[in-house]
Symmetry: D3
Subunit: 320 residues, 6 copies
């Protein structure tokens, strides 16, 4: 029996239709979220220190996600011989947090409100940035829902405490997270080269429980080796800065850094995480689509998110 | 008393939120359209003879339309001292017609179905192309609802009968329209330079009731002079090919032609049409956004459509 | 006797050399400004409501300005038979105000500090935005140096009082200016279509002394007619939002609006202003270069600024 | 004795001259093809399900091929210490198949006609797409000239039977090929992630003799391992969808999929195929140049084709 | 009786086929030119003082010219009710002059050789630049074929004598032309703003017979007024620098200057020139396509050239 | 004690301020260079055989280098646990060599003059191209300062002797270098595929002491293996053509060639060179930024240069 939508309904080609995430239903009423996954846009980019433009990340990722929306009854993966995101997994797009120009604190508060609404509904939050500072309100929303362990994939450590009064820019989120008692630890993958975090930030990070690995160190360890460094039974929140990837596949971002991860390196880590751990939320940030006219960056973001969600719910179903 | 949405609700900046047309509600159930205006995407571009890409016109126009969505209780125009599209005018976005790759006839039939649904609901159809061939199914939907007079704004005459068997490409729509007995006439503005229509097409067009004016001829006549050539009491369907405009403001299109209309030249004609005539429908076609990274073309499309809709309903309300 | 630099020195072609404004000397010590004109970058864009990117306006305008730097001993204009910006006019580039991400108030304060330094040095301030909110600290710097009359060239009225707490975004500057007792009036040219200012903003503006003219109204009045509406003897501060121009020549901006001014329309008004009035400062804002890969927008900005400066000092020298 | 063209003739730099494939002679008379290789453009893209634009693939690949045209008497490769495509290998460009907008069947028939003309002339067909549906008429042209084995390099399986009546879109070619009795088998390399082929398509493919390998599986097997899975003595037709490559080097395509092949992975397989098998034809499809302003994608296409042709004729000459 | 090519032959849509100018035949043997018009590419751009890239002008203009190639038996213009470039006018594309990198003199000599070959064959030369320095060898080729009067359409005067030894850059051509005894005069239209020519260059130009008019002066004079300034019976050579046009329609050029001509302003002057004068040759220079991803600039170049050629031969036939 | 600049001074974010290399001081007086490193732009691109545009390389690399300028007191690298380019290393930007359009020899002489000035001041020259021909005057400046060994990283051998009289184009530099008696040898890494050097050039190169390795050969050898082929105690000059890298990370270049180096492959070789050898100078050439709107290419150039400089001075300090 077919569960796809094209045999009986529309063909619904990828380029056709309104761009919600994965062409899933839009739920504008945040008190009525009823789904396994809820996707929230966080189009905030005043926290950037080089190029802005991540405010258009949510729209771009949504549009790119339609490329993977062929109306099949789930996404069949021939390598895994598995069907991901079948009709049993419900996803809704709840639109964007209300962003207020010039006002970082209010904008962040509105993002937090959205994540709290998703968590209150018992759904898995997927937040589309926006710059990496949007991770700050995301993590705040987990207050009282810990402990969580953060898996950060990123080129930059983002562990600046405060500089010229700035505590909530895109160079600060991991420091802010590490300060929370319900954040049990951070595993940072892909960290390399110069960033807004100086040496004292690295020292502080290590002291506060941040396990920092470069791309080359991750390659040497392998997926298994990396996973072994994450505490067993840790409930994982993934924050994926698209600049953790190599600029060759993610040029559309504000502060690109060469030498980043290739596609399968990240995908395989995420699949392993999904298999071994409970994943309690995720954000994907720093997609600035106007710097990539080929669309590769937003396609990467959508492809990673859809696959990761598939892995998570497949693992859940396997666990029973 | 304020009718805007930001005093009590969200600020809802233009860059925030899902991209429906004008951020108006999405109505996916075509049997439940209840609005003054219904917007339908027709992302079909297999009818093009040079550059394709108009399939992304609907998405691009929708996104550009958010630039004009500040949540005011209507759009105040200080030149006219009038507020357009206030809360009394309801608009819905019904998504896109189902397009079937390689299959022109089925795709066209699906567009026609959408326009018929809008007309059946008593709403004003606004169709976002897609290439100009999507006008063919639009006009078909008016069968039994005539007579209508077509106001075409375009660089090209689009009056090819049949060539190598092609009757439904983007060079044919006006010929197809002229063949309908419920199409009482065509006024074609902006026609200039070489196109796929040859001399015999021009001869046929004139014989079949097409009033052909170039940009320079329109300029010489002025808005009033142009309006005087449209039969009084004609019920007007507007088909606006974005290449009727000058490539300076509409470079994102498949077959640009220099020497086109500037913004106010078209806007003032549309305003006069709204004031003098019943407007029964419209399509805006040939926006190919990937050829214009500045976004000017789709912003033009959105700006023209929103203003024209404002004029139409303002005139209706004035007429009482 | 030749006053150019290439007969005895370098050829110094436009594409050669560091990009300061007009290839003029860089003066990083703000206490040592000694010039007729000082150019300050204000790369702040957290005040935008649609596309960001104006933070790269200063760098882009500086680079574009090198196109007009051929090392002649002044810019000869054959239409006016005059040589502008000869060796008697000294210009320095003082770099950028220090911008602090996430922090609007500190960033604005730093801009104000730069403009005050220029004014203290007796030089004419030329501020390169950044979004239009940078006009707010610019005007603040004139406290105690009034009265000044503001000539605004813009698509949008920018007269929002406060909305969701925002008082210093790019929709607010003219309201903030109008509140100053040393601002004697505002003449706003080019205002058209929907903007973040709603009807009540227009009403307030008019009540507070804002003379609002659309592009079409300006065209009807002509340069003389427009100038006649500016009070005689007014000391003029010009704030030029690049979106006052038509998107055909200024696509690289955050919130383009069709139907804007063409080049000579603005240039001739500026020349007339320079001839009749004392010009006490200027800002040129909203150039977002990454949306215009042709570079036309930043070339326009540089060309307008260099010509306007030429007119100002030519008029000064004529006045003796 | 020199066989290059610059010692006695023109320097003929890459950027100089008309863009035929490799700057080889144009032969517009399809009944007079007299060459070892004949290149045919197939600028058809109505079969695409996401982004169009592959209609400009042939022109873009031709222009990019001029980068490798320095007028040497053959292409010397220092790694292989071999000279490829010397004066003994004659190549002609026979222009494009006649494409009829809106009409898939006629367009495909015209492509088939071109390939048949090449085969009738005893030349090796090289077809430049166009979308992957152009492979359908290519394969048809081999009727009576089998058996052939298809080597497919691609991200997507393209094994949809029929959906909403579509049998000849870019998701169908391998199914259509597998139905031919003169197609002895298919080896599909690079297949990954979601595509228009659903699980039942994979099942059918395997049943019909399709050997499906992902990028990771190919990497694990190595070139030798992959070659071992192709039947000995198979006469090979290569269909190379540019999206088989990683979007990092081939962003200019309609439906990019991350995780694709890098350059040498494909090149070494093609070299091994040339050495072990008779190659009877090839198509390279889905280059959509307007999505890659750097030109990398079309340069990749030209570089792969020229090298592959070099390998084929070098191997032929070695075999004697 | 039909003279088009699609009734009996191919449909030959604009996007199909090899890109020669207007899809006309390629004639690589310069001793065998037999046509009314011969088109030569001159892809030289080492003479530029800001952005290079005009070396790709010839290829871009050729490709853009295919947009106007529908296979009709001539181009019917409904405004003029005339058919231009019918089967009686033969055009060939003779490819490009051989350009030698780093070597200006040899490259220029090769361009001169091409123009001489065209003139020797009795055909009308149409040279596609390249930067404006390519006009220098073009004019040299007319030695012994004068007198000629040059009609220059340009933003810049290009009348630099010598600076740092440079006599053959893109700032020098009109000075070089004025030095020829067979050049009877120059009419320069569109000259405005700063250029590499300083005041002394303007003085010299006027002294040497250059009639210099700005865009605004041309507008004031009107087409007739401009034509009246060109000596009766002058045999006209047209050199059209694309930057004579407004950057709104010609952004793809090296040294854009705002305030340029719009399309019909130039077209009507060219039509009047064709009607009143013998046109003996033309070049169109400074199209740098990589700065205009919309393609507008090269489309403008092709559209102007094809129309101008149409006017010339129509006028010739009218004169009998 | 903190040595950064933000604790007591400006925050000085990357997007703020004039673009000198690394935001280091500008020294326009070449007789007053007093620094460890001096950066010279060489914006010359008339030596290119395909796409030009490298004249904007220096400006682009300078701007990109600001991304790595956070005002820290040195760049901390957590992988090496080292701080590079601390306050003990002084760098100045001395602007660009004076380039004369159309005149290769004068332009090259001016570049040589700049490098000599740097060497005379005892600083390390870092030259930003421009095309690869700018290496010719760079090497000339080392006359009397040898012996030097050249480490070339490049896709192309650049060993053409003379062709059509060209001896100083971007295909000739290594041949010119090999002719110098003070050049003791060349190690060429990354050489692959077709280039302007033909087989006889390879033969000559090998005979004249050029050790040629392809990307795949370098990979097989590993960093150590490569270093072992460079003579011990050789004083190294590095010439880095950005097209030595894979087009995936360096698309913004004139003659891209697929199959190039990835980031760490080059970085690790440069680090090893810095550790084992005295580095006496470097140039980085062929960045043509207008072909890469993402900015990846110039970011790569800046990132490699800043890291390499860090390695060199770290190694010097280690050596004492």
């Amino acid at each position: 029996m077919s569960s796809n939508s094209y045999d009986s309904g529309r063909l619904n080609l990828p380029f056709v239709g309104i761009s919600t995430f994965g062409k899933r239903p839009y739920q504008g009423d945040w008190s009525a979220i009823a789904a396994d996954v809820a996707v929230l846009g966080a189009p905030f980019d005043f926290g950037t220190q080089f190029r802005a433009g991540a405010r258009f990340g949510p729209r771009a990722i949504r549009e790119a996600s339609t490329l993977f929306s062929f109306g099949h009854g789930g996404a069949y993966d021939h390598e895994d011989d598995a069907t991901y995101l079948g009709p049993d997994v419900s996803i809704v797009d709840i639109g964007d947090a209300d962003i207020v120009h010039t006002d970082t604190e209010t904008s962040h508060a509105n993002i937090e409100k959205g994540v709290r609404a998703i968590l209150d509904a018992g759904a898995l939050p997927v937040v589309l940035g926006g710059d990496h500072s949007v991770n700050i309100p995301c993590i705040r929303a987990y207050e009282g829902r810990g402990p969580i362990h953060i898996l950060q994939i990123d080129a930059h450590l983002d562990f600046v405490d405060v500089r010229h009064g700035v505590r909530h820019g895109h160079g600060n989120p991991m420091r802010r997270a590490a300060e929370k008692e319900y954040v049990s630890g951070i595993t940072a993958l892909g960290i390399r080269n110069v960033s807004s975090t100086a040496k004292d930030g690295y020292d502080a990070a290590r002291k506060m429980g941040d396990d920092i690995l470069s791309v080359r160190q991750v390659r040497k360890l392998g997926t298994e080796g990396v996973l072994d460094r994450i505490p067993k039974d840790a409930r994982i929140y993934v924050t994926l800065d698209i600049d953790g990837f190599c600029p060759s596949i993610a040029p559309g971002t504000g502060t690109p850094s060469h030498g980043g991860f290739l596609y399968y390196e990240v995908l395989e880590i995420l699949q392993a995480v999904a298999n071994r751990h409970e994943v309690v939320g995720m954000d994907l940030v720093e997609v600035a689509p106007d710097y990539d006219h080929s669309g590769s960056t937003q396609i990467l973001a959508a492809q990673v998110l859809l696959n990761f969600l598939g892995f998570i719910f497949h693992a859940r179903s396997q666990r029973g």
